[in-house]
Amino acid sequence: MMETLQIPLVLGTVALLMVMRVPVGISLLLSGALGFAFIRGTTITLDTIGGRLFDIGSGYALSAVPLFLLMGHVAAKAGITQDIYRAARAWLGHMKGSVVFATTVAAVAFAACSGSTTSSTAVFGRVAIPEMLRLNVNRKLAAGCVATVGTLAGMIPPSINLIVYGIIARESIPKLLIAGIIPGLLTAFAYLVMIYIRVSRNPELAPALPKASIEERVNSLKDVWSFLALGGVVIGGIYAGIITPTEAGAIGAVGAFLIALLRKRLSFPVLREVFLDTAQTTSVIFIILVGALIFSSYLAVSGASGAVSQFILGLDMPMMGIVCIYVLLLLVLGCLVDPVSVMFLTVPIFVPPLIALGAHPIWLAIVIVKTLEIGLITPPVGLNAFVLKGVVPSLSLREIFGGVWWFLQVEIITLILIMLIPAIATFLPELAL
């Protein structure tokens, strides 16, 4: 009796703990431990977890994550976001779409220095929203733009979600990172087209700025070229296969420090804050990873993962049909739970049978990560909207989600394009590595 009820009980426990505001990582860890206790008994479970925490926590490939986080934190704290934003405004502010255009382009540039969606949204919320509101940009458009463009950091390398995916699915991390370039740029381009069309129809949404002088434009580049070059070196190094992602993260972080130091943007308190923020963010992300690993191990040991995989393989459906079902599941889960835990829970179950059915591993990875990024802005609980609300409390959630809706439609179209044309994801990695 207990054996039959065991899996539903454990799944119910994890869901209940999460909706009761128990942190995601701890919910997964406690429920996974409960599940193992059913199978192996309490003492063995606790001993096993005590030993496994080390195996989970020590890994070279995972070390890329804190290093890229560090690089992003240095860029943000040293005021690089402001510089990038100022340059984008000087070059694009006079066009249709004005500062909203500039914000989108600046977010693409910043994404090359930062792999975290929420960090990117938070820094752009602080920098771009006050400026856009001062320039009478429509509040919904401003809020939607910033909440959405932050997700570009989750796709354009160095993307932390793609690194984590590579570890779960045992895919080549450099290939995955490179594969994110075209989908990321395509998404940004689609945003720009949507903004252009909307502003062309109603210019009051984003009044254009006077054209900046050539001198002003050239001067604006002085502060950003070095960081953009650093982003280029990091991505280029991985692309050429000269350095591993972990090495790229370390070089990026050291480079960011040096540039900030030369510009006199680093003080001791800033340095302290940057390192402490990185330490805190890493523990927050990785306790989820630890919990998710224990939980997914339980699912594997209990036979649940295998049963679902077999069920998928036995379905009389084409691969694309199953991918569509998986994408819908990810959209629902992605707007409720963070991407890392969703990947840990679903990738080991869905990805092997889909690859067995002929799905391209890199294409599948990009589709999964892209869908989870969409989940981050999907109402009513998209994480990015809450991050933006946190840094700009004057914006209401209604305004943020109202603005996000315009971008969400673009996101769905881009996702469908990536699903229908796998070369968008696979072209660069196949060409390069």
């Binding site: 999460m18 909706v19 009761m20 505001r21 128990v22 942190p23 995601v24 990582g25 701890i26 860890l29 406690l30 431990a33 606790l46 001993d47 977890i49 005590g50 030993g51 925490l53 080390f54 926590g57 020590s58 890994g59 070279y60 995972l62 070390s63 804190p66 290093l67 560090l70 929420t118 938070a122 972990t246 090495e247 993260g249 370390a250 070089i251 972080a253 050291v254 302290r272 390192f275 402490l276 990185t278 330490a279 805190q280 890493t282 523990s283 927050v284 990785f286 306790i287 989820i288 630890v290 409720l336 963070d338 609980v381 994480l383 809450f386 991050v387 609300k389 946190g390 840094v391 409390p393």
Partner: protein
């Protein structure tokens, strides 16, 4: 709703005064970082020495959490330096720094576990809480009590087993094999330290909740409020 750390941080300042008015009936004039249990320890009546002991123990816990976080920050700085050194040594002299791969992998353990107590104190973990948000305060209290008891017991038990695992690795001389052999016990030892700080933090939060009716998010708001941060900086 999901509450990311940034959202919690920004809301803290504006909620602080309201929150403490609600809890105490009048505005809180004490330094914010010491609101909740950490100030109640001072006002325990009848036994001054016990109050002093509890107060000192709480301060020690705070300091240890911060030190652990600094060690974790130093670990990331070291990982960065070792990796860059490795890249330059390989590019310039065609040699590899012995043990660089192993040390970076092992040091990563510190980054995961040592910051846990500090993150829990700041309520920085990612939460969902869709149902919790709809509950009345009394029910929230019961739910949090249950969670804190379970988490405290679980992490205390895992502290013990991970310490046993680290000790066994030390006694057996467990190593990671690479160009050179690197002992693993020093990295393993970071796990029980981090988990011990986490389970103690759960215990403090549990007592705070039972004795002073301070929910986790309220304690974290006090932690983030400008006055509290200023106090922290001063210390």
């Amino acid at each position: 709703m999901r509450r990311p750390p940034q959202a919690k941080k920004a809301r803290a300042a504006q909620h602080h005064q309201k929150h403490h008015r609600n809890l105490r009936g009048s505005e809180c004039s004490a330094p914010v970082a010491k609101c909740g249990m950490e100030s109640k320890a001072v006002v325990l009546r009848g036994d001054a020495s016990l109050a002093t002991f509890i107060n000192n123990a709480l301060l020690l816990q705070r300091k240890l959490e911060e030190i652990a976080c600094y060690v974790s920050a130093m670990a990331v700085a070291t990982m960065m330096s070792i990796t860059v050194l490795e890249v330059f040594a390989r590019a310039l002299f065609k040699i590899s720094v012995p043990g660089s791969y192993e040390y970076v992998s092992l040091m990563f353990v510190y980054l995961i576990y040592l910051g846990l107590g500090f993150s829990q104190r700041r309520d920085a973990q990612i939460t969902v809480g869709i149902l919790y948000d709809q509950l009345p305060r009394r029910a929230k209290r019961i739910v949090e009590c249950f969670y804190l008891v379970m988490a405290c017991l679980f992490f205390a038990a895992v502290t013990w087993t991970s310490a046993a695992s680290a000790w066994s690795a030390y006694v057996m001389g467990d190593t990671v094999l690479g160009i050179i052999e690197v002992k693993t016990w020093w990295a393993r030892a970071g796990i029980p330290v981090g988990l011990a700080l986490l389970s103690t933090r759960f215990l403090i939060q549990l007592i705070d909740l039972i004795k002073n009716d301070v929910l986790l998010e309220e304690a974290a708001e006090a932690e983030f409020a400008p006055q509290g941060r200023a106090e922290e900086e001063k210390n």
